[in-house]
Symmetry: C2
Subunit: 137 residues, 2 copies
């Protein structure tokens, strides 16, 4: 479980913070399922690695300097939970929200599933209202 926590740390750093698409091939299982993620366009979908890379590009575009900071981790065999803070500068357009240049903060919790040592899906809730309030203030 310690190893899976470390894999998740590297995945969040290399894939989400740095936007390294090659790292998707290293950390992701053949398919990745977004089991629950209210507000995420891909909620309920199963993606292959190319589909995940497209999700990564589209999701990172409005906040190219985004950074996840892991605050809490809880693990069982094949499941790692992360409680995180997130920060990003709103440099690209979001639906209904053209780029504001604001620094946006968010928190969330995610259960990551592992299959044969690779990350194969998640169940997530983020504080979308906090983001909405910052964008409209």
């Amino acid at each position: 479980m310690k190893e899976q926590k470390e894999t998740l740390r590297r995945f969040l750093q290399e894939v989400w913070n740095e936007g390294n698409e090659d790292a998707v091939d290293v950390y992701l299982a053949e398919t990745y399922t977004i089991f629950h993620d209210p507000g995420d366009v891909w909620h309920g979908q199963t993606l292959d690695r190319d589909g995940f890379k497209e999700r990564l590009r589209i999701s990172r575009a409005p906040f190219p300097d985004q950074c996840f900071d892991i605050k809490e981790m809880v693990a069982e065999p094949n499941r790692v939970v992360a409680g995180w803070f997130w920060k990003g500068t709103h440099k690209g357009d979001l639906p209904a929200f053209p780029a504001t240049g604001k620094t946006i903060n968010m928190s969330g919790l995610t259960i990551y599933n592992f299959t044969d040592g690779r990350i194969s899906g998640h169940w997530q809730v983020t504080d979308r209202l906090g983001v909405f309030q910052q964008l409209t203030s």
Copy 2:
């Protein structure tokens, strides 16, 4: 860890779903800390059992038939994570939202801390935007 998962199930059922204040004395540690819970009035505070009972009464009043339905659980010694769906009828007033009579659905994830077998705090994120959208639609 199986025992702590079962304790958490009973706590959510008896305390939050049924509003049984006596059960607080059974399941709660001497103090309870809300480490992280954006939007919760008690975010950042440490409560004794009487303080927790007051939080329970105030939180349940707008949704007296509220019900947590646990969908996911992940545990380590002294920490249990629950991923949950929640449903309640909006029968009492909320700040800025007088009772609408609507059935409101919400999801969230919570890390519960245990101390000597009793629940001593949480780190939580809920989908507040989903609730806001249902209240204003």
